[in-house]
């Protein structure tokens, strides 16, 4: 079976106001593996996420996701690939405030053109499984609590049974109890769908729930570029 992620000889240069370069010699996540990626802010985590999700392209090297070489795809192919095969959960504010909960969950399905009755049913089942009462489904995203919003985001991420779910600090906006409950829900979903899980956090205390913990500094070298 293909690795969920396989990065080799990657070099990426950001040419913005604070230009930097990032190099990753070799990094892989096996299918279904649950990896915790830790590192202080500014270590290149966000860039790494963008590279794995195909919203940034490296200047050199390969990024393979679920056996597909992202660097060989056009931008729109990468977008379509992301809609179909990747789930993404942000730290907070995951939902479009003006869409209902159910419409937020169905967003990737609509973009992937898979919003049939079966998908809608799965969305409802997922929401129920994640402890979101039916009365909440028609509410607008902005009307939910932070914890509820994160669970809706998880439902959306796992909707199309993606091979890889990427979460960027998904629990940092939650208190300790909710954090553990949310992590458990994510793990359960990952197990059920067979998705590999890549969670980025600055909180190494979570490590015992993952197969492997990786420090960003060990796999990636970030350097400021001075012009």
């Amino acid at each position: 079976m293909n690795d969920a992620v396989a990065i080799s000889a990657l070099r990426y240069a950001y040419r913005g106001p604070s230009a930097f370069s990032l190099e990753v010699a070799d990094f892989a996540i096996a299918a279904g593996e649950r990896v915790l990626l830790v590192g202080p802010s500014g270590c290149g985590k966000s860039t790494l996420l963008n590279l794995i999700c195909g919203t940034a392209t490296p200047d050199r090297g390969r990024v393979e996701v679920l056996g597909e070489d992202l660097t060989a795809m056009s931008g729109s192919r990468r977008d379509a690939f992301r809609a179909r095969n990747l789930g993404v959960i942000f730290q907070q504010f995951n939902l479009l405030p003006y869409l209902s909960v159910i419409d937020n969950v169905l967003l990737p399905a609509r973009l992937a053109g898979e919003s049939g009755a079966a998908t809608v049913e799965r969305a409802q089942a997922l929401l129920a499984e994640l402890g979101l009462a039916e009365s909440l489904w028609r509410q607008k995203g902005a009307e939910l609590s932070a914890g509820q919003q994160q669970r809706v985001a998880a439902a959306r991420a796992f909707l199309l049974r993606p091979g890889l779910v990427v979460a960027d600090e998904p629990t940092s906006a939650l208190d300790a109890d909710r954090r553990d409950a949310f992590l458990a829900l994510m793990m359960a979903q990952a197990r059920e769908t067979g998705a590999a899980l890549l969670v980025v956090s600055h909180d190494a205390a979570l490590h015992d729930q993952f197969d492997r913990t990786v420090a960003v500094a060990d796999i990636a070298a970030k350097q400021k570029v001075t012009i």
């Binding site: 913005g16 996420l49 977008d79």
Partner: protein, 409 residues
């Protein structure tokens, strides 16, 4: 497609700013349509100040001054035409009818026009609308007068009222009033929106009689005779084909120097003097439309920063930067379309309400029909303006979502 729904939901989320932007576009559309319609209405009404008359003949002059004194009763003719010439014109075989007018007197600032009873039948205004009596009727007696609608309203005249004609065109005349010879109002004309509303019409024989020197009405009645001169002659032709032949013949008339004017051409000439004003009006409404679109662009641009998270979410679920561009363009298009729809509705409601009032007060006939070619071109340009105004923020959103990816920097 989810993008149409997304755009609508997103706009709904910003109801107030969206509503204000729609209103500003609607107002500019309504203004543009109103200016356009009034402009056309004014031009139409002006060009139809007189209709049914094929030619106007007066003493040698040029077209515009002749039109000014004969139709608008502004200024004076420098020369009159002799009665012999008038008869000769009337008897030409191309001529179907003639109506003479004699000018020179006034009544409390309103011009007095000496004419014949046939005036009320032949002189038409607007789209060939005959004169209509609001009260009373045409002259029955030598010292009868018919007053225009404005004269009757301002001076509170009704059939039976007496009025004194004074010499010259001034509002107040101390020396030369024919005050021993009062006229009785026999009729009041309905409003036409033309200078006729501001005229006092009396029999042309009476006009000459009061200038004959005597103040004795009884004697004047006996002496009332065919006038010796007329100021201008309105002519109707048997066939339009004869127009240019007759015009040439009259312009080359040997007995005295004449000028024959074709009202249509002369009016167009006169309108071209006034037309810069209409261009200014159109220019102003175009500026208002541009302002509305700057408002649209600003309204969307201002939300860009706060919507970077929204864009990152969309990117995360598989949207490309091109999708984001489309989302923002759709929003601009919806706002513009809504603005145009409301603007057209407001403009036509306004026309429907104002049209009868304008028609009655100013004789201004608005044309309320489907938008004409010009209006459609304007609406098309406005639609393009909305698209152009939407392009800038959409392009910015495209760039931002491409640079941000999933992380809002």
């Amino acid at each position: 497609m989810p993008w149409v729904r997304l755009a609508l939901s997103s706009l709904g989320n910003r109801r107030i700013i969206t509503a204000l932007t729609v209103v500003s576009i609607a107002l500019s559309v309504a203004l543009l349509l109103t200016v356009e319609n009034l402009r056309e209405g004014a031009r139409d009404t002006f060009l139809r100040t007189i209709s049914g008359t094929d030619m106007i003949v007066g003493a040698r002059s040029s077209d515009v001054p002749m039109l000014l004194y004969s139709v608008f009763h502004m200024g004076d003719a420098t020369q009159e035409i002799s009665h012999a010439t008038y008869r000769a014109i009337a008897e030409r075989r191309e001529v179907d009818w003639v109506v003479p007018i004699a000018l020179g007197d006034s009544h409390r600032g309103y011009r007095v026009v000496g004419t014949e009873v046939s005036y009320f039948e032949r002189i038409r205004t607007g789209r060939d609308v005959p004169l209509r009596f609001e009260q009373g009727g045409e002259f029955a007696d030598l010292f009868d007068a018919v007053v225009g609608a404005e004269v009757a309203e301002r001076l509170n005249y009704a059939p039976g009222s007496q009025l004194i004609v004074s010499h010259g065109a001034g509002a107040i005349d101390f020396s030369n009033s024919h005050d021993a010879l009062p006229f009785a109002v026999s009729g009041v004309l309905a409003r036409t929106g033309t200078p006729i509303d501001r005229s006092v019409l009396i029999p042309i024989e009476a006009m000459h009689a009061i200038h004959a020197g005597s103040d004795d009405a009884v004697q004047l009645r006996e002496e009332a005779r065919a006038p010796s001169t007329v100021t201008a002659v309105f002519i109707g032709l048997r066939t339009r084909l004869a127009t240019f032949t007759l015009q040439r013949a009259l312009n080359a008339y040997e007995a005295e120097p004449l000028t024959a004017v074709l009202p249509g051409l002369a009016f167009a000439q006169l309108w071209s003097i006034v037309s810069p004003i209409e261009k200014v009006l159109v220019g102003i409404s175009v500026l208002v439309a541009i302002t509305a679109f700057l408002g649209l662009a600003v309204a969307i641009l201002a939300t860009l920063e706060t919507r970077r998270r929204e864009m990152a979410i969309l990117r995360a679920v598989g949207a490309g930067p091109a999708h984001i561009l489309r989302l923002f363009l759709y929003e601009a298009i919806f706002v513009t379309a809504l603005g145009i729809a409301f603007g057209v509705a407001v403009a036509y409601t306004l026309f429907a309400i104002a049209s009868p009032i304008l028609e009655a007060r100013a004789g201004l006939a608005l044309v309320i029909g489907w938008p004409g070619t010009r209006e459609l071109v304007y609406l098309g340009l406005i639609a393009c303006g909305g698209l152009a105004a939407g392009l800038l923020p959409a392009w910015r959103a495209y760039r931002t979502s491409l640079a941000d990816g999933l992380t809002v920097r």
